[in-house]
């Protein structure tokens, strides 16, 4: 019922290789292009340096995921989520709504929580992407994971990785949240089994445990 988190704000400066304008020209405005893109287009400065047009065929890109480069060839219309799951074998981010409404595919880009179904892989080039696999690479459970388990903040678990990533981004920004702030902070993610009782407690516990220590 609360407002969901907004998609990653559109970059203002053109990037090497692809610009929003050039990209749209390349593939045409299809149903797959979200409202965020259209807004960015209308708000973009009138004059931009000419950019290379890519697509609609597959293009070779490199994604920086969990500190490692992943070269991959994708069609420009491929979402970051489909690329992570189908091409890079990183299935921790789940495909649930595929339309930026549920948060199950949340990853961090430059430390901010982003719905991986809501951006294209080509847009994520040159950015530091962190997935649940990166956050939980250590054998020792991450403090957020530990807090989730100790508060039984999961049942079927399909939404859980998204909640863990959201919690990471949220606590990085709000290290001392109140209960109400936790409710707000989790508002961009949905759970069907009904694990919010444990989730809210888990986030508060993780906040306490992460204080003073630096965690990847």
């Amino acid at each position: 019922m609360r407002s969901r988190k907004e998609p990653e704000p559109e970059p203002r400066e053109p990037r090497a290789g692809v610009s929003r304008r050039g990209f749209i020209r390349g593939v045409g405005i299809s149903g797959a292009v979200g409202a965020g893109v259209l807004e960015a287009e209308t708000q973009a400065p009138a004059q931009r340096p000419a950019a290379k047009v890519i697509g609609p065929g597959p293009v070779a890109i490199t994604l920086q995921v969990n500190g490692k480069p992943y070269p991959v060839t994708v069609e420009p219309r491929t979402t970051l989520l489909d690329t992570l799951r189908d091409r890079l074998g990183l299935t921790g981010a789940k495909k649930v709504c595929d339309r930026g409404a549920c948060g199950s595919c949340t990853v961090l880009i430059g430390g901010k929580a982003v719905y991986a179904c809501n951006i294209f892989a080509v847009e994520a080039q040159g950015k530091e992407i962190q997935t649940i696999e990166g956050l939980t690479a250590d054998a020792k459970p991450h403090p957020i994971v530990k807090a989730f388990v100790e508060n039984d903040a999961q049942q079927c678990g399909y939404c859980t990785t998204g909640f863990v990533m959201t919690t990471k981004a949220f606590l990085d920004k709000n290290p001392n949240p109140t209960f109400e702030q936790v409710e707000e902070g989790l508002a961009g993610n949905l759970c069907r089994c009904g694990t919010y009782m444990g989730l809210r407690r888990a986030v508060l516990q993780a906040a306490k445990e992460m204080k003073g220590g630096s965690h990847a």
Binding site: E133, L186, L190
Partner: protein, 714 residues
């Protein structure tokens, strides 16, 4: 067998593991993204599937042309799921499936398939009984006692209309599967509530021997009653794979299709008239109900619910068939709706009698199957909800725009245990495997199995390797009807006790005692009462030499041993705030008092009840499948418009599990369904209590609340 072990549960004071708040064993794997759901399965050379669905609610297929799609680069195979000439009865019906090198190409291919339809008239609004024509099928009148006379004699009567719309199961992991052929053998990774049987069901549809299908699944992303069968996409996926020379095919529904056809529960509406004596004794019930389970209609709801023994009854039900996907079992099938219809009508009667509902329900508890249990639960729930402090007669709230109200809902469920076979293997190195063809829906089944085994064998929970989710393991029932914990805990108890008896036989001669004199405790096999005379678990198992112990345990539903039981009661009280200016309802608190027999793991049991309460909040305040009468389609086939509660929408939830000795001694009883039943009524009644008028039909959205306040229909 001379030494049949005593399988009964240890006395409460002797339990080391059972009853402790054990952490979920697969918790770290799931929260870290390491658990593999079937939708996460990656196979070499895997193709991606997509399904083309019918856009019309009622149509005849006159032609399907796949030639353009077949020629597309990257398309591997196409399978028709509807035949030319076939009459389609709902939008979202599967017409064709494609497997391609990527999901993008598969979707392109769907667009290239040309399907011609002859459109036929549709009917999707079950509330339009006049327009339903032959789609509405009234049942005969069911009469008990003399309702007419009872109404004449009643001191007070009350009449109202109540309704619960169709809801979607809305599992977060969509329905679907990965299929891969190796020769005539099919590897099948479904997302299912029935790993032991779903492969055999698929084999039947494919007309191959059941032995040729191997089903596996490590984790399932929600089921709630919608994932028992292979559905139509199971065989379609297998055929796509077969046509692509056996290459693996991942075929899962997209969210729109999921919310149109993957599972829904029936709607129920009822006009209910009640009569009572001045003292509040309910004497007569008269209801005309109707509802739909999609195409084919639905059966009558179990009303009056819980208060079954009303002496004078008249019941009429009309089943309405609409052009929408067929219903599936939804967590406590028909019970939440029946509870809402019944408990709302009863609280309206209590209001008419100027009676406190706690007093009213207490007065009428004799009409239930468990009067003493319900009375005790009612007063416990009232205490936890601060009823005596917070409740006020209907409508007499504070003068400000935000009104507070409390309301009550009741539940019941049966439970027992499904048939289950468990195989325990003890190796000579001391390691322990427990294997069952069961599944963990997120309820904590894996953890419960390990706890029961650890309790029996006297070892730590982490020493037990639980293997589930594979059709190669001994058959265990489908997870439905709250029968899993009963089934697996009984079979695991028996299997581990049988294995332990064998270990005792091996070790006894070494200790110079009879096997019957031994016990297993704290990681040791020892003479009862003489801990010094014994061996460590490892040393005992080493005596097996080159042998292993493998023993079965069977639960055959009503088997002896007193391990499990069925038949529970529960009471829920909701506490809400309603803003009469905006119509917005906010949860303050939901109290759930629940009986569920012996509680194996209080931590996950409590989570089950929390989850059930939250599902009730969703159903009471926001969830509803909306059909467009013009197009016949589901209007809200996305999470933007099919609303679920978020973390800030639930208020506080208080769970009280009845673990008193008289409940505990009944044995294990499942908990998945009962707590999801009473919340709708509790919240509906709380809103009526807050604002002084009944909002008839769920969900209690602001438009309906405001309309009820203004005395008109929303």
């Amino acid at each position: 067998m001379p030494n049949t072990p005593d399988y009964s549960w240890p006395a409460p004071e002797k339990r080391r593991v059972i009853g402790k708040r054990q952490l979920r064993l697969d918790g770290v794997a799931k929260a870290s993204g390491r658990a593999t759901y079937s939708s996460d399965v990656q196979r070499p050379g895997m193709l991606h599937g997509a399904i083309l669905t019918c856009p019309y609610a009622h149509a005849r297929v006159t032609g399907i042309d796949t030639s353009a799609a077949e020629k597309m680069r990257g398309v591997a195979s196409i399978e028709l799921m509807a035949k030319p000439g076939e009459e389609i009865q709902y939008a979202g019906y599967e017409v064709a499936a494609v497997a391609a090198e990527s999901c993008q190409i598969a979707r392109d291919a769907l667009k290239a398939i040309k399907v011609e339809y002859e459109r036929l008239p549709h009917f999707v609004n079950e509330q339009d009984l006049k327009g339903a024509g032959s789609n509405a099928k009234p049942s005969g009148e069911q009469v008990t006692g003399d309702p007419d006379q009872a109404f004449k004699e009643a001191d007070v009567t009350s009449e109202g209309f109540y309704g619960v719309p169709v809801l979607n199961h809305s599992t977060l992991e969509p329905h679907g599967q990965v299929t891969e052929w190796k020769g005539d053998q099919l590897d099948y990774w479904p997302t299912t509530q029935a790993i032991s049987s779903v492969g055999g069901e698929l084999a039947k549809l494919l007309e191959i021997p059941a032995t040729n299908v191997h089903s596996r699944m490590d984790a399932v992303g929600g089921g709630f009653g919608s994932k028992f069968s292979p559905d139509r996409w199971g065989p379609a996926g297998a055929m796509l794979s077969k046509k692509a020379k056996g290459r693996p095919v991942k075929l899962f529904l997209d969210r729109s299709t999921e919310l149109q056809i993957a599972g829904n529960r029936p709607s129920y509406f009822a006009k209910i008239k009640l009569g009572a004596k001045k003292d509040g004794t309910l004497t007569v019930w008269d209801s005309e109900s109707f509802g739909t389970g999609g195409f084919g209609g639905t059966t009558a709801p179990p009303i009056p619910y819980v208060f079954r023994k009303v002496p004078n009854l008249r019941l009429v039900h009309t089943s309405v068939s609409i052009n929408a996907a067929m219903q599936k079992a939804w967590r406590a099938p028909n019970n939440p709706q029946a509870s809402y219809l019944t408990c709302c009508a009863l609280e309206d009667l209590a209001a008419k009698l100027n009676m406190d509902p706690v007093e009213f329900f207490d007065k009428n508890a004799g009409l239930t199957n468990y009067p003493a249990v319900y009375r005790a639960q009612l007063h416990k729930a009232a205490e936890l909800a601060e009823w005596s402090k917070l409740w006020h007669p209907r409508g007499q709230s504070d003068s400000g725009p935000v009104k507070r109200g409390l309301g009550i809902g009741f539940n019941t469920w049966f439970g027992l245990g499904h048939p289950s076979n468990c195989r325990t293997t003890i190796h000579s190195d001391g390691s322990i495997e427990v294997e069952l063809g069961s599944q963990d829906l997120g309820t904590g089944t894996r953890t419960v199995i390990a706890m029961v085994a650890a309790e029996t064998l006297g070892v730590p929970v982490t020493a037990v390797k639980v293997k589930i989710g594979d059709s190669a393991y001994p058959e265990s029932g489908a997870s439905g009807g709250s029968t899993t914990v009963g089934g697996v805990s009984a079979s695991t108890r028996k299997s581990t006790m049988n294995a332990l008896a064998k270990l005792f036989e091996t070790v006894a001669p070494n200790l110079g005692v009879e096997p019957g004199e031994l016990e297993s405790a704290d990681g040791r096999i020892q003479v009862k009462g003489t801990p010094s005379k014994g061996l460590s678990w490892k040393a005992a198992c080493r005596k097996l030499g080159t042998r292993t112990i493998t023993e079965m345990g069977v639960n055959n539903q009503r088997g002896p041993g007193g391990l499990i039981s069925g038949g529970v009661a529960g009471v829920q009280i909701a506490d809400v705030n309603v803003d009469v200016e905006t119509g917005v309802v906010r949860m303050n608190r939901l109290v759930a008092v629940q009986d569920c027999g012996l509680v194996v793991n209080p931590r996950t049991a409590e989570s089950q009840v929390f989850g059930a309460c939250i599902m009730s909040i969703c159903g009471a305040l926001m969830e509803e499948r909306i059909m467009d009468t013009q197009t016949g389609r589901v209007l809200n086939d996305s999470y933007d418009y099919y609303k679920l509660a978020g973390a800030g929408d639930i208020g506080q939830i208080i769970v009280y599990l009845n673990t008193e000795p008289e409940y505990d001694k009944r044995g294990v009883i499942g908990l998945g369904e009962p707590p999801v039943v009473g919340g709708l009524a509790a919240i509906g009644n709380a809103v009526a209590n807050a604002i002084g008028v009944r909002v008839s039909v769920l969900p209690l959205t602001p438009d309906k609340v405001l309309a009820a306040l203004e005395g008109r229909n929303a």
